[in-house]
């Protein structure tokens, strides 16, 4: 059990599961922490979910997701992000994962990135009051057009360093290719709000969003990357977050068992 003490199961890894099934699965496998998503939480009810995870004795390592701030008019998105901050607070997690949004129809990537920076500046105070860190997730450039215009850890840190209650997510899948990743992880230090692991599969499957595998099944040197993160003093939970059609189709218990096994053999020794 001790070897998975810092493992958090991101519920997207067992996407078909309800929050009840996900929480019960964690408890059954000795996993002490869970990463939640807003939609399944809403399905079960916010307060009911908060009570469910508290009664189960689980930590909530993060809530996913805020963000989507790149529209030319993002006022509705700002309101939605304030709601997401409130939800994170209700769930007693200090980390809201921010997927910032893709390029708008005007193709102005620089403008889209600036709107993200401006929106984070506007949301930072609200997040600080709620005790929630906005965890900016730099996304692999394959998602730059349609999901996240922050493409590097350096960009996310440029914003995070300017504001209170703003940090970054280091997701192995999103950052592993970056020639500057070592230096930026060291720079990030205590600003790393969440470290997430999975692996990069080749060939990339038909839906590039689902090109994630269990740690160890792909091209990422997770031992090396995890040691870089650990060297910053990172002492929080490590989420396993896998989007993969085959894994989503599998039995929840089998998946959770495999997640724990991979975490134990590949991630935990490097922490």
């Amino acid at each position: 059990m001790a070897a998975v003490a810092r493992l958090s199961l991101n519920q997207a890894t067992i996407k078909r599961a309800t929050v009840v099934e996900a929480v019960e699965g964690c408890v059954r496998h000795g996993i002490e922490s869970i990463g939640l998503w807003r939609e399944p939480v809403a399905d079960h009810g916010l307060e009911r979910t908060a009570k469910l995870v508290a009664d189960a004795g689980l930590r909530v390592s993060s809530l996913c997701r805020g963000g989507l701030l790149t529209a030319l008019d993002n006022r509705a998105a700002l309101d939605d992000n304030r709601r997401a901050i409130d939800e994170a607070s209700a769930l007693r997690t200090d980390t809201l994962v921010m997927v910032v949004g893709g390029v708008a129809g005007d193709k102005d990537l620089i403008g889209a990135r600036q709107r993200v920076a401006d929106a984070i500046a506007e949301l930072s105070g609200y997040a600080a009051e709620a005790g929630v860190t906005l965890a900016l997730e730099p996304m692999h450039p394959v998602f730059c057009a349609d999901r996240g215009v922050l493409s590097t850890l350096a960009q996310a840190l440029d914003i995070a360093e300017k504001h209170e209650s703003v940090g970054v997510v280091v997701d192995a899948l999103h950052v592993w290719w970056d020639p500057d990743v070592d230096a930026q992880i060291a720079r990030a230090g205590a600003l790393i709000a969440s470290y997430q692991v999975c692996d990069w599969l080749t060939p990339v499957p038909a839906d590039v969003l689902l090109g994630r595998g269990y740690p160890g099944d792909g091209s990422i040197d997770l031992d090396r990357l995890t040691r870089q993160v650990a060297a910053t003093g990172y002492a929080r939970d490590v989420e396993v977050e896998i989007f993969n059609a085959d894994i989503w189709a599998a039995d929840f218990d089998d998946v959770i068992e495999e997640v724990a096994r991979r975490y134990h053999s590949i991630v935990e020794p490097a922490l």
Copy 2:
């Protein structure tokens, strides 16, 4: 005609065409330059192709591709690259496009990148004697695992600046997302051996390699990017290189006409 004077048709855009069909298509549409690939050239014969393009009055803007230098034992690859340099010389092009190769089975990305740097150092003299520039193509990070471990223009320039007869390819698809792209294009200056255009389509299709569209059909601000390249004094040909299953299935003449139209309306005004 003048408006497409610097347009080069990369023959991969009409992948099913033989070199004869590709050359005839260029001539029919007033295109004065062509980018060739080694396999179809070999099918027609190297010397015959050299004579074909010379008789047609075409420039050969580049030969694709050398590279694949990341294997733990890359001696065979070095020999193959020397042959590719010879072929470029025989085709009277000064530009060999280098797709450097992906991560090896050991998952050591830093090691793979170092092998590329070492191999380019070894090939540089041979290329210089042949009058051929090794044009390092930084590739979109979606290809880092299996095609190209140079993920940014900065990385390619770090190598190119150290050796004679080594330059870089600026392919819009590969560099558009890079937050540092403006600075790196300016830094590249005369080291830009080839500027290539197409567009980034979303959603990414089932084969990510084929996620390219005609200029104007995707998320890239090609006007802005082209102006950055032009500002360096770039005066060479501009290749349109599109990997796209629908375009490959279409009539060659229709494709070439559309390529010329997009080049004329989107690229040429920014040069």
